[in-house]
Amino acid sequence: MRLLAALVAFFVTGPAWAGCPLDLGRGAGLVIFSDHYMIAFRPDPLRIEVGEPFALVFNVCTKSGTAGELVAVDAQMPEHKHAMNYHPSIVAKGDGRFRAEGLVFHMAGHWEISIDVRAGEEIERLTHDFYIK
């Protein structure tokens, strides 16, 4: 539902983002955006399993069309104030594509991932909630 809303919003605001490829391969993906950024991403593998390492692949676009950079990715369980026991590393793949490797959700439940991006000096944080069963 959330994804659908995001997609609808995307197409409504379409023209400004027109150059931003949402396709991350394998079809499915999530989209989040702010005033300045639109970020498409998906887990790899697609299904996140408790305790199993996974990666996130990103496509970072900016409204102004300048290059966006993925600076950091992290996650925590807000209810328990638990951080991840692992520190993801980020590899730039060119053309606004990034891969964050080494995430592990070691418990089932609510995880909030934070995605720090910048296109210039200032870093902006976007977040997304995962509910792992």
Partner: protein, 390 residues
């Protein structure tokens, strides 16, 4: 004849409603949570960092080495001294004892091949890397790479078994020989898979919607299981088919080893891991892709790691007392009492705590104990290992 028939009918009539009542009501959500603790057994463990993992020749060499006291400095201590088959691969003691007393309890080796961190503080990232530690540790076996290498070269049987396992004579340098001995030992340990239990039969029946088979699991066990996955939230950490998420936690067990000296738990484990020449980032990892080193590469040190210990699996738990990293609790009943009464002063948590005094009633406590005991089963007798070079 007629009387017998009548009795049977009567019994059937009596049995039917009883059987129908014997399974508690399980919601869809609960059934899904129960299902996560299986299926059992899992497929055989394979470790890509270990070239002889899951190979029959590696396993048989490892089984011979496991009870060979010649690996130790004084020729008196083997792995089997502390990890005894008849004691579920532990030693029945509160704290381990080799050539000297240890500060931690000897864990059972059941299902150890499925872990990703080893030892109570996760100081090793592979089963073979962990295996090197007791061989060299002065308090455990006080052996050396030179000693292990000499044994493999000079004992004709072992040399032959080595050549079969590794495809070459035992002619590497001493450290390589130590690593390979550990890899064979690891291949053997990874075959120690605990048997199916009453819980597994219930789980499978519940998943299959077979109420009759499910009803063979006692009501008290079922209530205990409901607590485990529900109100008591035990499955937050004791997750999955082995009842552990393989990570670390602090449940308020003391960490003083003796006055003034602490066991830093996971914090020390990460430091030891980083220092080890045998970790998966080093040259002895047989997995060229490096994919299996992801956890090692990304593990992060957190303040909260101080005093955290690895979440133990719970299969066979009732059979291998004592409990906790320091053996401080003697029985399963004591463990349940701990979770029921643990003082909040012992737990540091900023958010909603995962462990809190549950304040269980006597009935709930005995249900939880009954459930934990349903994770035990007597293993079938093991045949003695086949000869190395028949």
């Amino acid at each position: 004849m007629r009387r017998a028939l009548l009795t049977t009918a009567l019994l059937a009539a009596l049995a039917a409603p009883a059987a129908a009542q014997a399974t508690l009501d399980w919601s869809e959500a609960e059934i899904r949570l129960v299902g996560q603790h299986g299926p059992w057994p899992p497929p055989p463990a394979r470790d890509p960092s270990n070239r002889v993992s899951a190979t029959p020749v590696g396993i048989v060499l490892g089984e011979h080495l496991f009870s060979d006291a010649r690996l130790s400095g004084d020729g008196l201590v083997s792995c089997a001294t502390c990890h005894q088959e008849g004691r579920d691969w532990s030693d029945g003691r509160a704290l381990g004892k080799g050539r000297a007393d240890l500060d931690r309890r000897t864990p059972s080796l059941w299902n150890v091949g499925y872990s990703h961190w080893f030892g109570w503080s996760g100081a090793a990232d592979s089963l073979w890397a962990h295996t090197i530690k007791p061989i060299l540790d002065a308090r455990e076996m006080a052996g050396s790479s030179a000693r292990v290498a000499r044994l493999l070269r000079e004992d004709k049987e072992l040399a032959c078994g080595y050549e079969r396992a590794f495809g070459r004579k035992p002619d590497g340098d001493d450290e390589q020989m130590l690593v390979n001995a550990a890899k064979a030992l690891a291949a053997f340990q990874a075959t120690l898979v605990s048997p199916r239990t009453r819980f597994d039969d219930f789980r499978d029946a519940l998943m299959a919607g077979d109420r009759e088979a499910a009803a063979r699991y006692g009501q008290s066990e079922q209530r205990g299981l409901k607590l485990f996955i529900g109100e008591a939230n035990c499955n937050a950490c004791h997750f999955g088919p082995r009842f552990t998420n393989g990570e670390f936690g602090d449940i308020g067990i003391g960490f003083f080893v003796r006055p003034g000296e602490v066991d830093a738990g996971r914090l020390g484990g990460i430091a030891a891991l980083a220092d080890s020449p045998f970790n998966l980032l080093g040259r002895y990892n047989d997995d060229a892709s490096g994919a299996n080193a992801r956890r090692t590469r990304h593990v992060r040190r957190l303040h909260s790691n101080f005093g955290e210990f690895r979440v133990p699996g719970l299969r066979q738990v009732g059979r291998s007392a004592a409990y906790m990293h320091n053996g401080s609790l003697a029985t399963v009943e004591d463990v349940v009492r701990h979770y029921s009464e643990v003082s909040p002063d012992r737990l540091h948590s900023d958010g909603t705590p995962l462990v809190r005094a549950l304040g269980l009633s006597a009935g709930q406590s005995s249900d939880l104990v009954a459930f934990l005991r349903s994770l035990d089963a007597a293993p079938p007798p093991r045949p003695s290992p086949p000869p190395l070079c028949p």
